[in-house]
Symmetry: C2
Amino acid sequence: MKRPPEISISRLAIYLRFLEDYIKEKGPQATINSRELAHFLDINHHQIRKDLSYFGKFGERGVGYRPEELKEKINNILGLDRGWNLCLCGMGNLGLALLAYQGFRLMRLDIVAIFDSDKKKIGKVFQGAKVYSPESIALVAKRLNIDIAIIAVPQSAAQKIADKLIHAGIRAILNFAPVKLNVPRNVKLRNVDLATELINLSYFLSSPK
Amino acid sequence: MKRPPEISISRLAIYLRFLEDYIKEKGPQATINSRELAHFLDINHHQIRKDLSYFGKFGERGVGYRPEELKEKINNILGLDRGWNLCLCGMGNLGLALLAYQGFRLMRLDIVAIFDSDKKKIGKVFQGAKVYSPESIALVAKRLNIDIAIIAVPQSAAQKIADKLIHAGIRAILNFAPVKLNVPRNVKLRNVDLATELINLSYFLSSPK
DNA sequence: TGATGTGAATTTTTTCACAGCA
DNA sequence: TGCTGTGAAAAAATTCACATCA
């Protein structure tokens, strides 16, 4: 069994979300097969089975998958059965949007601390998370067992914050700042780049069909 | 010359951003070659040349690229030399964050209208964009020549808004709602899924190294 | 029979190697 | 000589075809 490509992981997350909705609608008894799942998600059905096959056997031949069981299995594969502690760096509008998004809580992704350099915000509590000065990242990260950091600060501050996070021992970072961050090999960095997404659309609209 | 893969377009956007910073720092005279560019961006240098080669010849053998010229060319390829009119659907915190992000303006991506069903917001103006009722999408989209729509509404409202946008003739959509939208083939849809990104990190942290 | 799971085939993307030009 | 641009090779991802099993 080969190592799954990273994009398979993203698709597992998609399957998981679908299964949750599906169970809510149809109950946990109904079975679902890869063709139906593929149809709903507009994905090739071979791909779904291939993605799952990297991790084991979850279906029943001639029948399909039991959604509740498959959901649990994917949850486990993705590491969502245990919870993770997150910190949010930068509490502007984007930070507020992330804090407000309840979907994270459901997956046991808890924002437990906020770092912001604005003195007026430090000490306040938003959605159950207290705001600390960026200087205290190392201290707070250790005390609160922070696993994952979200960078939502302006571009000019992003690398400095990243360095602090890495120094504090955080090994997974989601970066929203539009800049290429330098991180060591053992730190996992994912970037969400809103401008790049829009530029893709711009290209689509202007390129000849 | 073959069709470029979609991911090349995303990388062009990255090159563009880097060139802008580079020109600011070094001035438009200094040349840059693919190896340096690759080094800064942590990308293979063959890939950079290959990405560019899909669109033509932009460098000088033995020398490299003139950043100002390359920037203009990429701008043109990506369709950013003409501007685009955007609308924002849903004005919560995420919407506010998008409105506040000045990077879009620099690329001539202008949010010219906002659609929100909250009656208290309708009629108000944020960052130069007026808030309209979702019912008036068709009308406003035509009047303001809207090219691209951003969906930042709750999951439950996303498909309905998408249908309205498509009906209004909009052919490019950036979707932030955590749901798979159904759109016709001729509409370009890109999704930004924050939960999926975090789940990738969760997988990384929990998978054996 | 019907749907999974998977090795093989195909397609796509990345990387390489070098011809070609300043 | 030095670096681009590109066909070819290699690697990776997707799709296919089918053996397998309930």
